[in-house]
Amino acid sequence: MKKSFAAAITAAALLSSVGIHAFAEGTFLCMRADESVAISIDENNNFEYMDMRASNGELVYPQISTDGNTYLPFRYVCEMAGLKDGADIAGALPDGYFRYWAADPSIPGDKQKIELMVNGNYYCHNIGESFQYEVSPGDVRTVSIYNIRGSLYFPMTYMAKITDSQALWHGDTGRIMYISNTLNSSDFIDETGNLRRDKELYLNFDFFCNNLGGSPLYLKSDGYTISDLSAEIEGNPKVRSVTRNGRSIYFLDNNGRVNLKIEDNAEISLLSFADEGGNAVDVIADTIISVQNKLYGVQVSAAGEKYGRLFSANHDGSGFKYLNDSQVYNLIMREFRGNLYLFYCDATTRATLHMIELKTMDDYEIEITNFAHENLLSDIKQFVIGSKLVAYISNDGQLHVIDLEDNLEEFEIIRVNNENHKIFLTGSDGESLGNITSMNYDHINEVLYVTQVDYTGRTYYYTRSGDAFTRLERSDHPITDLALFSDAYYNDYCAKTVNGRPQIDRIRYSNGIVEIIN
């Protein structure tokens, strides 16, 4: 079966014209329901993000029916599995082909249908007509093939069955996996059915590791090696806001220009931007974040400026557009409950946070008040957002922590008691917590880190259970920023720029206590 499937794939690859993806080494797809972005691998086992599109160019989305079956966009998955469209073929369908037939109005009762010829087996189903199949012994599903607004949807496990592939759904992350049996699934997913963590790091899924704000550091795609980007560039320039899309590393130089470097390749180029009409756009940025083939950032009027306009562009700089009309700052990315969100602060009020859900691009204003509807945010210099707290430094140097309690399901409007909003003036060591200049949030362990830039270079951490800022270490040199990493084995690292040089400490979080262990 495997061999014949591989033969069909190979035949399809040989026959395929430009634009048909036929993977000789098999198919790996990782998708989320209602999202148009899939992760796939190419012939060299390189992961990449792909937009899922129908033949008419429209974005298509996997869907989960209310009876629990997963449905995949038919054409997209057929083509990814190496099958070829046989629309122009008259008569019998050759092996490795699929075909759609519209209903013939001249034939009474004729219905639209699909055909597949895979491994010498012929499959034909009328659209909208239910049929049964056995996924595994005893697991009989009743499904249909649907035409939903012009896109055909095919039951995933049935597609996996007839193409001799595996279909997996991971409820915790909402990820859907489609893996041909010519691949060793453990190369891609771990024993829990999740995408393997080093693959996630490679794809820049893990924002704990790769949204480093002011840091020049990044975790290489092996999932273990931390690299100082400035050391990799001739002349050792200052770089910051490092972010990655696959093997492409983006960063900002001193002039606020977006640079692109391919991992393990010394060559660096300035990224050119063009709007959707193809017109060049001059971009000086304060922050950039790359995710799922897109680049998001804050475009400022001059290098060093903090406030600017929020933009998005494709990973190659094309398709530049502004996401709103406001002046914004402090752009961060977070993942909650399997969805990706951009957060930013409105520069006009400096007291309003916004959240953009990347799946829909809906922009929500987040209202965080007490029950008297008084805003608990004011004069924000920098904020971080966790699943259970929001913390910010005000421009007067005060350190605010707001415990969100049970408001997690409701990010747009959060109401808490006054006691949930605390301003910390001293650390647990009795020292003043003034002059806090940067903060970072470990969303895996739910630990907040803050750094003081003075001549003592203190770092403190905060947990909800401890409800105090505990001194992490004593340093003799000023720290100018602090970033957090975890590697493919979930080892945590605290990376700092100390006296202009990177210093990386391995840290361990256990029972509410953070320790430096090297």
Binding site: Q63, I64, S65, T66, Y71, G128, S144, Y146, I148, R149, Y153, E357, K359, T360, D362, Y364, F371, H373, D406, E409, E410, E412, I413, R415
Partner: protein, 253 residues
């Protein structure tokens, strides 16, 4: 003179009693999502075909479609029906509205305030178009209370602090609807149908709502019933219009 005044008052009271006792037999049908995506069908998410079957059937079988604001003036001799849809999904505009227009049928949409202009929900321009059509009344379904879990919401109703928050939330939704439509709304649907007498009094007396709806199963028999949270009949996926009519007839006095 005194006798005359007493007589007038007595006549008025009698008239009122007679009016309130008059059997209106208004069936309020509760819909949620109405979709053309068969993968989304569920108990409370019906197909556009099912919706059309309902409206066509009611239209052809002599029912009078009313908006909530028209219930008070319902003709007791008519077969009165109110079509309501909770939450404000955008499929109401895409799938249900064209059918309402086709059959000139009236309905009400109870909008979750925080969902206006959000993915999957009605956009401002759609709400405006529905409102302008004269066929659809836009009602209040709270701004964020709907997203609280059932048990959390029940707790809110019995705690004074949270009750105030609930009331503020209704006002917030009202303001959002006003901002979109340029006018307010007097119809309110309780999320999950949950309410207390105290909340109902506040909604009616302090906030000025004239029609409120719960999800309890039943009919609106008299004008008295319009003065309290009105019961509805859930429209379940798979039911036929005849099934609904059967429920209506079984509930009628």
């Amino acid at each position: 003179m005194k006798k005359f005044i007493f007589t007038i008052i007595a006549v008025m009271l009698l008239l009122c009693t007679a009016a309130s006792a008059e059997n209106l037999n208004i069936a309020v049908i509760c819909y949620h999502s109405i979709t053309d995506n068969p993968l989304k069908y569920s108990q409370y998410c019906i197909s556009a075909e099912e919706f059309e079957d309902d409206i066509k059937y009611f239209s052809e079988n002599g029912y009078t479609f009313l908006k909530p604001s028209e219930m008070w003036y319902a003709d007791p001799n008519a077969k009165n029906i109110v079509i309501t849809s909770d939450d404000g999904y955008d499929d109401f505009y895409e799938c249900a509205f064209p059918i309402l227009q086709k059959y000139n049928a009236k309905a009400a949409v109870f909008m979750i305030g925080s969902k206006i202009d959000k993915h999957g929900y009605l956009k401002s321009w759609q709400l405006q178009e529905l409102d302008r059509s004269g066929l659809v009344e836009i009602g209040n379904h709270t701004t964020i209370m709907h997203k609280r879990q059932n048990n959390v919401l029940e707790g809110y109703l019995n705690d004074e602090t949270y009750l105030n928050e609930y009331v503020e939330d209704i006002k917030d939704c009202s303001a959002r609807i006003y901002e979109v439509l340029g006018h307010g709304t007097e119809s309110f649907s309780y999320p999950y149908g949950l309410y207390t007498d105290r909340l109902e009094r506040i909604v009616r007396t302090n906030l000025g709502y004239t029609t409120t709806f719960t999800t309890n199963f039943g009919m609106v028999y008299t004008q008295d019933d319009i003065l309290s949270p009105m019961k509805r009949i859930y429209r379940i996926h798979g039911d036929s219009p005849q099934d609904i009519e059967e429920k209506i007839n079984s509930l009628k006095y």
